[in-house]
Amino acid sequence: MTDKRRKFGTLVAALLPQLYRYAYWLNQDGQIAEDVVQDALLRAWRAIDSLKDETRAKAWLLTIVRREHARRFEGVQPVFVDLGALELADTAYPAEAAADAADLRRLIAELEPAYREPLVLQVVVGLSCEEIAELLDLNKATVLTRLFRARRLLTQRVAAPVVTDAGGIL
């Protein structure tokens, strides 16, 4: 195995869960998310020489996943999936937590993409607001507003108003 392939393998192993979950929340379809991530990673492999700064690898791969998803579904009407029918096994957690997660997933899926995407990038991928702004081509204030509104909508809908009392923070 070459060094280049080993380096790419390490990147894939480290970042695949985040890339998959990001792709999943772009369309809420596991099959499509898997296809998008596979194709995006193969594109990344072919272009691996263009990655000069390894500290930028995560942002680079997320950009490729985002573009791959957009490329596939440009002009396509979204396919709405009944999240209740999806088998998202939560075997590692108690049944109560799994039920709560299923309810929350349904609410997250109902968020507008403009609110959902920054939230996923912050919570799942761990990007800073500056990194999210760069990836989504937004300014930081817009990212903060969307993050705030995403949380406020979710907390309102789950009837647990933990963010609402900070209504004036932005």
Binding site: K4, R5, F8, G9, V12, A13, L16, P17, Y20, R21, W25, G30, Q31, I32, E34, D35, V37, Q38, D39, L41, L42, W45, R46, I48, R72, F73, E74, G75, V76, V79, L88, A89, D90, A97, D100, A101, A102, L104, R105, I108, L119, V120, Q122, V123, V124, G126, S128, L144, L147, F148, R151, L154, T155, A160, V162, V163, D165, A166, I169, L170
Partner: protein, 231 residues
Amino acid sequence: MNCLEYRRTLLERPTDPGSGAREHQLACRACADWTTQQQRFEQRLAYALSVPVPEGVAERVMLHAAWRSPRPHWQTIAATVAAVTLGALLAIQLADQPVLAQSVLTHVYDEPDLLIPGSEPVDPARLKAVLERVGGTLDGTIGSVLHAGLCPVGGKLAAHLVVAGEHGPIAVLVMPEYGVATNTAVGDDKLHGAIVPVGRGSVAVIGFRGESLDVLAERVRTQLSIADHGA
């Protein structure tokens, strides 16, 4: 740091708000209580967003990467020149073809990786799942299926299968949203094939010139069905 700044900081950096925020939290009861609720919600949120990741994706990517080496610079240039030339020729040759035939050929050329031989057969369960998403059912076998994925063809969802042929991969596009009355020929100087009516939709079978597609097209026509109401 006041309460407003504290809560803004927590929104911006929920997992690592910094020492200034921690000092405020210790000094302000209201913000301490708010933070407890907020952290509880963040845990629920993180758990809900962390959907299970399918097994084997990384292995499949590395398997493909093993036989698709990054191209040297000169090859990239050559490939680009070839693609532009091919695209121009294709545009001229397709000028008189039906719109669907153009969409089908364009889609096949848009997925150049799938025209390269050398992959392993896909898991039958995956093939079944992909077909189900477009309302398709396979009764029997159409050959060694090397790829099964979902793609937009002309803006409509389709299943893109790749079947091993004698002279290279053969693209089979299952298109529930496009009905055709009769077999419709598709081709240019490199690829040829047909769009075959199947149920309420159609299936395109496209291979390299020189590849005999009649047997596969017949298998597709007789063994593949598309339900009236696909996914």
